[in-house]
Amino acid sequence: MVESGWAMTQRFGNFIARRAGSGEYLKIGFSPNSIPLQQRWRNNGLSADFLADYLSTFFPGKDPDSAERQAEIKDAVSYLANELLENAMKFSYALPQHTVSIEMFLEADVISLYVTNNLDPSTLAGFQAYIQRLLTEDPGALYMERLERNAAENSEEASGLGFLTMLNNYGATLAWEFTDFGESGDGVTVTTMAQLTV
């Protein structure tokens, strides 16, 4: 029996707890079941670009060097946020009250994104095994291997490239926190952290 309010937490990678109250932060929430995924899809890009634009206030591009840095940060945040939201929308599990959220924290030279969604408990073991590979193997080699395999198999399944591109192309640090609220709550939720040092 699971008591009400009980929740079990499991972390992968160097998951750093959110620190609201220090520095700037933004949070956007979505209710995935309110409109069909097809219509909602464009919100991923809109939200990601909004977060990236918003952040650029804190990295003013007055001279060529800082303009360069601003453009880099904007591109990276827009890419990472979009991929995280696409994943969350694709994999979140249909429960009526469920929400997906994205949070962005800015502290000194670190930008942290946290995306939370629930997931189908039957996919949990496979997902966690994949995370172990991401955390222990060379992302460059995994990335090339995945591109070759996707082309050879030509399947319509998820490309599996989202996390790999974040690690390989953007040098992001990824970590995950799983929380099992039991059958009475949201089921199993995952918060994915993507951190960039800028």
């Binding site: 899809w41 591109d75 827009s78 082309a151």
Partner: protein, 114 residues
């Protein structure tokens, strides 16, 4: 051949063997990318001596899009009949991070980035 959407366009000019991609490719997974993949594969299967992929006006490419373009690059590699030139623009920062990986798939691929 041409696909035109509010947020993105792609067309293939047979005369110059050039594929041009514009806008933002943020489509949802393999099934939504299928028409784009079909266009790319048709160009690859025509086996021109030089095949140009112009992404200099492609502002955004999600990971499913990277997957789609990779399939095209690998098809050209399998045919071993065409040289690919990719034209890019550093204004869009994803390009310098991502295009280099296409060269790893196909070392003879030429990158021309403005």
């Amino acid at each position: 051949m041409e696909i035109s959407h509010e947020n993105y366009q792609i067309y293939y000019d047979e005369a110059t063997a050039t594929i041009t991609c514009q806008g933002s490719f943020r489509l949802r997974g393999g099934p939504e990318y299928q028409p784009i993949l079909d266009l790319l594969m048709q160009a690859a299967n025509a086996k021109p001596e030089t095949l140009t992929l112009d992404v200099s006006a492609l502002e955004f490419l999600n990971s499913s899009g990277i997957n789609t373009l990779s399939k095209f690059i690998l098809q050209v590699r399998n045919h071993n009949a065409s040289t690919i030139i990719i034209k890019g623009n550093n204004q869009y920062r994803w390009q310098e991070k991502s295009l280099i990986n296409f060269q790893k798939l196909l070392p003879t691929l030429q990158l021309e980035v403005q």
